[in-house]
Subunit: 395 residues, 2 copies
Amino acid sequence: MPKTKIYLDNNATTPLHPRVRKKMINTMDVFGNPSSLHQFGREARSLIQNARRDIADFINADPDEIIFAGSGSEANNTVLSMLTCPSKPCTIRSEQKPHVITTEIEHPCILETASCINQTAEVDYLGVDELGKIDLKELKRKLKNNTILVSVMMANNEIGTIQEIKKITEIVKQHGSLMHTDAVQAVGKLPADVKDLDVDYLSMSAHKIYGPKGIGALYIKNGAPFCPFIRGGHQEKGRRAGTENTMGIIGFGEAIRLRKEEMLSEEKRLKKLRQKLKTGLENNIKKIKFIGDQEDTLPNTLNVAFYGVEGESILLYLDNAGIAVSTGSACSSGSTKPSHVISATGLEQEYIHGSIRISMGRNTTEEDIDYTIETFTKVIQKLRSFTTFNNETEK
Amino acid sequence: MPKTKIYLDNNATTPLHPRVRKKMINTMDVFGNPSSLHQFGREARSLIQNARRDIADFINADPDEIIFAGSGSEANNTVLSMLTCPSKPCTIRSEQKPHVITTEIEHPCILETASCINQTAEVDYLGVDELGKIDLKELKRKLKNNTILVSVMMANNEIGTIQEIKKITEIVKQHGSLMHTDAVQAVGKLPADVKDLDVDYLSMSAHKIYGPKGIGALYIKNGAPFCPFIRGGHQEKGRRAGTENTMGIIGFGEAIRLRKEEMLSEEKRLKKLRQKLKTGLENNIKKIKFIGDQEDTLPNTLNVAFYGVEGESILLYLDNAGIAVSTGSACSSGSTKPSHVISATGLEQEYIHGSIRISMGRNTTEEDIDYTIETFTKVIQKLRSFTTFNNETEK
């Protein structure tokens, strides 16, 4: 194990904020079942309500519009699964086969669910341009009479590109369809105001913003149709069964409350670091490409592709040098297929296998970035020395 | 708030075992995404695999047969939802409309899901006798050609009655159907050996056995058909998407490992306390009935009904005196309907609204039980003094 530990994979997950950690430890002994009527239950219930309020505050929602989930993936599955709910009184289903529109660059928890429901629902996918943005005209063309739901992610986990959710929602609502956004990577890195965005559903996750793993949340606009995904007890006003993950919820609440304090200054700082990293890599290494929109981007995310080398080799060499990055989403790691997101941007074959996601966080320092630039330079040089790249480029 | 804090609602949830608490705090800084290939990911992955092994060990399964879930409710939903999976390649579906058999006394997460899938599947419910046991002959009668799945809980959360899962499974397997047991209340209070029981699916939860909330697990026998409930990333070998709840999983593993050490001596101790409590209440209070099987029962659970009083009033008076009990499952608390479990046992109307579940735990002492008997005696006397009960019984 190298002594250096530079963690540049904050889009995969983040360490607990020390104050989240502290709050979770301090409330670990509040163990009552939040549904219980006695003092032990009331104590837990009240902490959960505080956390719900903090989350609602952050996105300008009412606390009642927030339900908790076991992950961002569960929140996303919840929305899409409404379309295939076998229960009759489900409010979202129409007589016609429902039509859903999503994009080619969504997270697998949207894409896999979409592909799974395609027996019961009709699914259309929007492509993206080379910056990773969808085309609003294509969206307009694809909206149909039976389009019930449109689901477009707010910011992409692999390349950082931010979609124009407000404009998209305007089109979707004008058509009379429902709008969902997977904001797992966006909320807490960027501001998000559900009243301004006007979305019907929005998914979030704690562990992307220095909160615990195993807890997500779904915003459901007051009055929007809803059908529970996990059924059973009357928790979350009958919208999500299962004993509440009190500790996780408390951690989520604290994490998002702290983002409110830290996010804006962090955004500035990370943008500078991102620029420094980009310039450093560009200056030192030939034949590289930066993927995704370089303006409308998550401030912490830089996705860079190197001509003629394998991303996984880069990752392993960096890991040996104590730097953690990823080749795409952690959810797909181990796969040899090129990322579906990067493929969708139309990146050339010579680059597509050599892409690396560098995602910084609140612990990332300037020194980390200096060391990272230096190490990348050496690693790419070494890897390319194994191939004919140098000779080729000298020609 | 009273100074006394006697927690007798351990079937709703339990406090963290101090060693679980310690282990969770000690590993809180292992934050990598378990799917990541770098050192941070490997560290988390290895802790998760240890926990999986501890859980598998406890029920005599292979680690690969265990997947994690966000709750026992999710695990139960996962099994039942396979029957309505909209995806074509799903292995559990037949050409015929599938038939499922469950019981009238299951947890709401089974009953609500069963009622939800009843458009796509045919559902039959087994009744119970006055002890809360199902009738094996009725099961045999109800098995049909298209019976795909039978789901019977191992031990009831409200009345403690234990079903003869091994015998039930024998009948189900002879018929060629799949067998699921909701063992959320049983595993860790009682031993459970999946090889001996021969079930195909078994649901568990950490927070019933001094582990954290927000984490459950599902045993899936090697080779049993399976279809994921939460879809997306390839976590849990493609069987349950979403970043793993590392902290929760570690806590679950430690909790179940400790049950292996403590369960048998605790079982003995709790049986004695249960008997003491039962005798005390019987001696002091007229017209009471103990519900459920008094032999084949969870050792920690005593469900007692008082003639002519309201369970919720008892609960509130006890809460004021610092004792936490419940009227049924926490998942249904706040509801004015009598418990579906107690109704299913055919308890007389005069008792049905006056039932209280007392569920002890590893922190329960003899002194707690003395104080509880004393307080119950006073509270029931007081509540009955508000009614005509005393006069009536003097006649």
